[in-house]
Amino acid sequence: MDMKVAKKKLGLKDKYKLMTRDLGWEPSYHSKDELYPYMNYEGIKIHDWDKWEDPFRLTMDAYWKYQAEKERKFYAIIDAHAQNNGHLNLTDARYLSALKIFLQAISPGEYAAHRGFARVGREFPGVGPQVACQMQAIDEIRHAQTQIHAMSNYNRYYNGFHAFADQRDRIWYTSVARSFFDDSMSAGPFEFMIAIGFSFEYVLTNLLFVPFMSGAAYNGDMATVTFGFSAQSDEARHMTLGLEVIKFILEQDPDNLPIVQNWIDKWFWRGFRVLGLVSTMMDYMLPKRVMSWREAWDIYGVENGGALFKDLARYGIKPPKGWDDAEKAIDHMSHQFMLGLYQWSFGTSFHSWIPSDADMDWLAGKYPDTFDKHYRPRWKHIKKLAAAGTPFKNYGLARLCQTCQLPSVFTEPDDPTLTCHRETVYKGEKYQFCSDGCQHIFENEPEKYIQAWLPMPQLFQDPIKGDLGEWMKWVSLLDGKDNGDYAGSEDQKNFEAWRGLATTNQ
């Protein structure tokens, strides 16, 4: 008879050591430089990779166990949402525009982050960051997948969800996010970590996810709320990794400081431009609003960001260069964006609309210094045009910024009545920008940004050659269904009819 022998259990510390640090080895057939060829060209100096601390002490076996549990819970709720017609519990189908933008522009960014972390996990020589990057790479692909699954139920009933991958690649308003991630993925491993690990995951992520997830909860979108809960503990780990990375780099060598500061300046500004989309979701697209973009900025930007940079000051880090220009833009950007989205709505795979009088009063209350003075007169005129049967469509395509790739909807930091014009000449070719921040980024690495794929100039090149109908096919946009004003759209009619069936006896 076999005797049962109690298996020896490893203590947490030993287990962490064996399952992470001990997985590495000293190469003997090849030099370290051959194995890790991208460690030096960015100018960052690392002397001791063992100084890397993993605050979570998470090993891969435990990681799989936690993630599997989260997946089971997530899909159970998603199934229940689909079976119980969860899509009819929304406050209003206008809410779906925010989701469509998120699916087309941001979810593919999760996938891009997955690829980026998988790459830098291979490129860093230290075992600590290798394991941390491996986990984050798997998290990010899980987030892309679960977001797509959470939103797929809406695709059965509503327009604008069906071709998010084509629209990520080809339509115009997504290229701000796409180019953001492409820029980071084509940078070196250290810059990628500062760009995504620190600037995006640590500094800006709250401004992206908190309003989005709270917005989902406020507007009855159980599917997206469930995704949010499922991702929350991952995000906490990502934020910790982002902060660990920057401290590690700065503590390794004083020469690293100016390089890191330059990246913080750059990636703050790039991220801030991506957030322009979010500002519009918060102020205009959520039928039941959580807070204004200004209020979110005050909490997550000014308070939290301010505290962070105070903390980093002991390393010599200063707040990002574009911080003051950002502050000046906060009370304008959501309005400037929504006015643009409305007048170009023939080319968007989501709906926009003229805000109601009640919505305009809300905006005037939240933006007492800017809305009535600058933006209400424009909306009133647009409303008049719509009432006269000549709704405002701006078929003059937009000038895009060479760096952030957004239409240049932004005004001078100190003059909200004048579009911001910036240009530069590089090797005989002219380039236009939306801001000083974007111009500086270009001038720092022009050879990178002259290759920018700008969707609007692209429309006049092969294969479209300026044909708007062909362009719609090419970006998988169904004219009259996916695009245009929410008023009179299929989404509006269907939502009202189906909800009517559920809530009345008609």
Partner: protein, 117 residues
């Protein structure tokens, strides 16, 4: 350094004029008239007379603005690359020195129906 790279790195600009099938891009913007969310992107042959740019695509695009009918084209103030500039309405874009991806701006002092003063 013009890009951080492991070796010499030279790129090709994506929006070279050769890609536009004999046309070029011109950006035009009406100062202090922000009903139009961004400067207009026009794609025209360089032989286009300036007058045709103004009376054709630009004039049509400006219609939704309440000030459009009141523009006196003889007296608008023009800027090219941010510098005061006087176009020759009868000459072509090329003869006017308007290059690929140039930004033109014009000002109409006194006309600002939708702007708070």
């Amino acid at each position: 350094m013009t890009v951080a790279a492991i070796k010499e790195y030279l790129a090709v600009p994506r929006d070279r004029v050769e890609n536009f099938h004999g046309k070029q891009l011109v950006y035009v913007s009406w100062d202090h008239h922000l009903l139009f969310a961004s400067p207009f992107l026009l794609c025209l042959p360089p032989e286009t007379p300036f007058r045709e740019l103004v009376n054709g695509p630009l004039g049509m695009l400006l219609q939704p603005d309440p000030d459009a009918a009141a523009i006196d084209w003889q007296h608008v103030e023009w800027l090219k690359s941010g510098q005061p500039w006087t176009p020759d309405f009868d000459a072509s874009l090329a003869a006017n020195g308007i290059g690929h991806k140039d930004q033109l701006r014009f000002r109409t002092p006194g006309l600002n129906s939708l702007m708070a003063a």
